[in-house]
């Protein structure tokens, strides 16, 4: 891929909880290139959302301690001044949130919510900002965008609202778009439209995209690279082909095994990964996946966290890495 847009290094997030400090993100490192789509997958509670909220300083400062670095075009998001961070939110990084039902302000019109975002980043007249807002709504495929400006969120369906949320995120032509489960709440046809929309904008503007999801179908469809998160760590990353075709980590294999296969003839039960993810307040001493791992082939599994290491040959320019003690090529 082309030049690096975002470089996250050793990102750690610790949250204060009633049950003690929780290590929600434990040393996450990845990069996103211009025009590249990185999918972040993992179960609920694996630290996906927290890791991106931390990038934009959107975690409550009283509760969260964020360390590491996240350079957007060379500038560290985690240490910049609040005013500079405000300037970056919008034109630098646009963010689409998970739940379209709650991520818009119910008492302000759609137009207002778009216009205020546009006007926060430059001297734009109200009329011009409204014009641009209508253009954005048309771009995300909202029918009758001009009338939609004067509507309130509750007057729109979930799919329409999510388009509005996307329009807000795109309002300042961000160089990086972060979509946190942006299509999870939508039905499949709407989801497909939105994926197309983002892909279109991406090829047009060269936007880098971080797409957080637990839908592996979406991953296969849009991602260039995949990052699998578990227990606040990256347990496997690589090109979409490497990770989906030749998964190296037992957890990734479990995830893929849990996909229903419509083509397969056996009508047996869906495979599941038994157990639940570890509580971030109480992580296991060894491999984070050890308590649920069906393999446990190495004595170090229970005692030592495996590093992210290159596994096997990769067909792309990117290394395929996994954090596991499992031997390469062990049976699936």
């Amino acid at each position: 891929m082309s030049a690096t847009l975002l470089e996250v290094a050793d990102l750690r997030v610790r949250l204060r909880t009633p049950r003690g400090p929780a290590e929600v993100v434990n040393g996450l490192s990845y990069t996103v290139g211009r025009g590249e789509t990185v999918a972040v997958v993992g179960e609920s509670g694996s630290g996906k959302s927290v890791s991106v909220l931390a990038l934009l300083g959107l975690l409550p400062a009283r509760l969260a301690t964020v360390t590491g670095s996240a350079r957007l075009d060379g500038e560290d998001l985690l240490t910049m001044s609040p005013e500079r961070l405000r300037q970056v939110r919008g034109p630098g990084v646009g963010m689409v949130f998970q739940d379209p039902m709650t991520s818009l302000n119910p008492v302000l019109t759609i137009g207002r919510q778009l216009v205020e975002g546009i006007r926060a980043h430059g001297e734009v007249s109200k009329a011009a900002a409204r014009e641009r807002a209508a253009g954005l709504l048309a771009e995300v495929g909202l029918p009758d965008p001009r009338r939609a400006l004067d509507r309130y969120p509750h007057e729109l369906s979930g799919g329409m609202r999510q388009r509005v949320v996307i329009a807000i995120a795109l309002a300042n032509n961000p160089s990086l778009l972060i979509a946190d489960e942006a299509t999870t709440a939508l039905d499949v046809t709407v989801q497909a439209q939105i994926l197309d929309l983002v892909a279109g904008l991406q090829s047009e503007h060269g936007t880098g995209v971080i797409w957080i999801t637990h839908d592996l179908g979406v991953v296969a469809g849009i991602a260039d690279r995949v990052l699998v998160m578990y227990g606040g760590r990256c347990v496997e990353d690589g090109t979409v082909d490497d990770v989906l075709e030749r998964p190296a980590h037992p957890y990734t294999r479990g995830l893929l095994g849990a996909l229903p296969d419509l083509a397969s003839s056996d009508d047996g039960e869906l495979a599941t990964v038994p157990g639940v993810p570890p509580a971030p307040t109480d992580l296991p001493p060894g491999c984070v996946f050890w308590p649920r791992c069906p393999v446990r082939s190495d004595p170090r599994c229970a005692t030592e966290q495996p590093p992210l290491a290159v596994v096997g040959a990769s067909d792309g320019a990117l290394p395929h890495r996994a954090a596991t003690w499992c031997e390469e090529g062990s049976p699936r």
């Binding site: 919008g90 949130f97 709650t102 991520s103 119910p106 302000l108 019109t109 205020e116 926060a120 980043h121």
Partner: protein, 297 residues
Amino acid sequence: MGVSVIVFGLVQLVPGDPIRLALGTRFDQETYDALLARSGLDQPLVTQYFSWAGRALTGDLGVSFRSGETVTSLIAERLPATLTLAFASILVALLIAVPLGTLSALRPRSVVDRVATVLSQIGISVPEFWMAIVLILVFAGTLGWLPSGGYVPLTEDPAGWAQRLLMPAVVTGVVSGSVITRFVRSSVLEALGADHVRTAQAKGLPGRQVFTWHVLRNALLPLVTVTGVQLAYLLSGVVVVEIVFAWPGLGQLALQAVQSRDYPVLQGAILLFAVVFLLINLVVDLLYTAIDPRIRR
């Protein structure tokens, strides 16, 4: 309708015979009977109710047993004083509650928050008459800054009006303000945690704009409701304060009416309180449609 039946019924439950009270200790049976017939109290209760309710519908609430003035004119005379006090109190209440509640919500469990919690707890628990007496002792007695009570219309003496209004408004305002502070704190806290606030931040809006339009604006909705409830309470429930400060309002009128078994005045006053309550609720509902687009169609 339902309200009027309850008002009428409750008043009938007040013990004591108004005619006897009006006549004093020495009277003959003939005068008593004549008065009874003239006041209509010899009729069956149902008849009394319908004749009262019928006249009330046309705005005629009857004539005071005691002074012979019409109830409507008595009420009209007292209404401005009570309205003044109620609105001044709610103003004091909001001036206390909105900043204090907001500050507490912005820094939960901070010193400010704890102090605000303790203060509002004190404000809710301290009896109004006690606070009123302490204020009178300090500001009218020891310091001599303010008159201890009474009322002059605004048009006659604006300075005197303000001076006399200050203490009663502060007493009732502090009580209502304490209640409202709690509500402001919780609704601002709730609004702060809403998902759309994060969306607003992610847009890169300046902090103040996020706070005004995405936190306060949304926290306003529950505030309107409590303020309405408190205002209704103030309009009808300031009896104690009106008496301590010799404020010639409806509360005082109602109390005097109870003491002299002046049924028409008492019924009129209570009916008015009920109507005011309904009216305020109506206004709150209308305000809601103005500020919450989800309610209007």
